[in-house]
């Protein structure tokens, strides 16, 4: 399952995106090596979630390039994009579980649609995925019957259903208490390392960044302000970086 290919799974060049005349992303350049966990930081509205939505092809950029495993995705048609998406996973901020389906059916949904597994194999895989996030006893529960932290876990299990090589996490610990947030952060790191996944995490949670990220990128005014390790951020002399870290911690 571990990815050994050394090509860059994500390469972003000169990426820009505006909404209603406001430039949210302004010429972002970023490359992410295979197996790395990268945290995207920045104030609310600086384009972290927008960048993730562009990376998964939910929105189109105004200009610039996004290459996933060497393939340019900004100009792809829906069919080809859907094939690329099978290599990608996405954990939404509010988990975005299908509220009319049980947790088991939520996790089974992509397996049913995108694989040729038999019903018995699917059931076994769903059980294993939910067990990996500690929800093996909640297979038949509806999303409305579980807590926010459990929703995030179930969303994570669904995001991992197709064994993606790259997973995007949009504020995975937002709205959770510090202990649950730390558990989710640890879970993401453990699963990323076990599966050799490349992870991009949009977050405000500095604890997760410090403990679990290989690299942190701070966005400001649509641009990359600093790109390095957590220590690089901490030692930065830029007044905005210092102010951001002080306020976040």
């Amino acid at each position: 399952m571990e990815n050994t290919d050394n090509t860059l799974p994500i390469a972003i060049a000169h990426l820009s995106k505006s909404f209603g005349g406001r430039k949210v992303l302004d010429g972002i350049d970023l490359t992410i090596p295979r197996g790395q966990t990268l945290s995207l930081l920045g104030r609310s509205g600086t384009g972290k979630s927008v960048l993730l939505r562009l990376l998964i092809g939910l929105d189109k950029p105004d200009s610039g390039s996004i290459r996933i495993d060497g393939e340019e995705i900004t100009s792809l048609g829906m069919d080809r994009l859907n094939r690329i998406r099978q290599k990608l996973g996405f954990l939404f901020q509010q988990a975005a579980l299908y509220d009319s389906l049980t947790l088991g059916e939520n996790v089974e949904f992509p397996l049913k649609r995108q694989t040729t597994l038999s019903p018995a194999e699917r059931t076994e895989k769903v059980r294993a995925l939910l067990a990996s996030v500690g929800l093996e006893r909640d297979v038949d529960k509806l999303p409305s019957e579980i807590s926010g932290g459990m929703k995030k876990r179930a969303g994570l299990a669904r995001a991992l259903a197709l064994d993606p090589a790259i997973v995007f996490f949009d504020e995975p610990t937002a709205g959770l208490d510090p202990i649950t947030a730390a558990e989710i952060g640890q879970l993401i790191t453990d699963l990323s390392k076990q599966r050799g996944m490349t992870s991009v995490v949009a977050t405000h949670d500095m604890h997760s960044v410090r403990c679990f990220s290989d690299r942190a990128v701070l966005l400001d005014k649509g641009r990359v302000l600093i790109d390095g390790s957590f220590d690089d951020l901490k030692n930065s002399s830029d007044p905005f970086v210092s102010e951001f870290l002080t306020a976040a911690v």
């Binding site: 299908y98 949904f109 992509p110 669904r158």
Partner: protein
């Protein structure tokens, strides 16, 4: 389709150029009209793009047979009691009202024909369309709107599933198939209750009532009027799905989507009926 979209974009661009002139003249009323016209063009343009995506999804494999059947059950069989009651009520009203009118002209023997003819030609189809538009249109608008604002539709797209195909296309096709079948139920319930209301006033057997009523009715009267409800289904499914999938603004937005799905689809349905009746008269007279 592309030509129509280009036309809308050109018209929208032309209309959007008006505010500068309007502002120069200080015409607030003109600005409001311009804004309204612009939003109508924008709606039709976006709706056209939506229909194009749904159409493409509908005719590309894999086909969503199971989801289509689930929607057919949801839209068809669950609307059945409501449609049957509405049809029955129309039958009773027609029976009572028409008897009084026909008695004035000494033509009570025409009563079965008038009830059956009115139900099959217009009352059954339009009442079924409006009832389904209210029940199903609001349901689709609210369900898809809720999925949209909670990012469930995005989650589906991320899973590699085309939401235009899985969510919209299946619902539109289910509406298209369900409407004529529901219309038959409304017609049957209406005729039965029309007979019952007639026989309570002046006893007549069901066999004789049907015989007298169907005597002057041909397939040309019955079939096009019933099949035109497929177009009603198409309108209800497409408009409601579009309103739901373009929902924004949280729970308030979901409410707006549900309401607008019913209002717009009912309005389009009535307008379409005018044209369809004219077409049917043209080809089946």
């Amino acid at each position: 389709m592309r030509l129509a979209l280009s036309l809308f974009i050109t018209l929208a661009a032309t209309v959007s150029a008006v505010p500068v002139e309007a502002e120069r003249r200080g015409g607030a009323g003109l600005l409001a009209v311009q804004s309204l016209v612009l939003s109508v063009f924008e709606w039709f343009g976006q709706f056209g793009i939506f229909c194009q995506r749904v159409l493409k999804g509908t005719f590309s494999a894999p086909f969503e047979g199971r989801e289509f059947l689930r929607q057919l059950d949801n839209i068809g069989s669950q609307s059945l009691p409501l449609v049957a009651v509405a049809g029955a009520a129309i039958g009773v009203v027609l029976g009572l009202q028409t008897r009084e009118s026909l008695t004035r002209f000494g033509a009570t023997s025409m009563l079965p024909s008038v009830i059956i003819y009115s139900l099959m030609k217009e009352m059954g189809p339009i009442v079924t369309g409006l009832i389904v538009s209210g029940r199903v249109g609001a349901g689709i608008g609210a369900e898809l709107g809720s999925m949209k604002v909670t990012e469930q539709i995005d989650a589906m797209a991320v899973s590699g599933v085309n939401p235009y195909k899985y969510l919209a296309s299946t619902r539109i096709l289910a509406c298209l198939v369900a409407l004529p079948l529901l219309t038959l139920v409304a017609d049957a319930a209406g005729v039965l209750m029309g007979w019952l209301s007639s026989t309570l006033v002046k006893p007549i057997s069901l066999g004789l009532f049907l015989n007298m009523g169907l005597n002057g009715v041909s397939f040309g009267d019955f079939l096009p009027a019933t099949l035109k409800t497929s177009i009603f289904g198409l309108i209800i499914g497409a408009v409601s799905s579009y309103q739901g999938m373009s929902s924004r603004g949280g729970t308030e937005g979901v409410g707006r989507s549900a309401t607008s799905a019913v209002v717009i689809s009912s309005l389009f349905l009535i307008v379409a009926d005018v044209f369809l009746v004219r077409l049917i008269l043209l080809f089946f007279k």
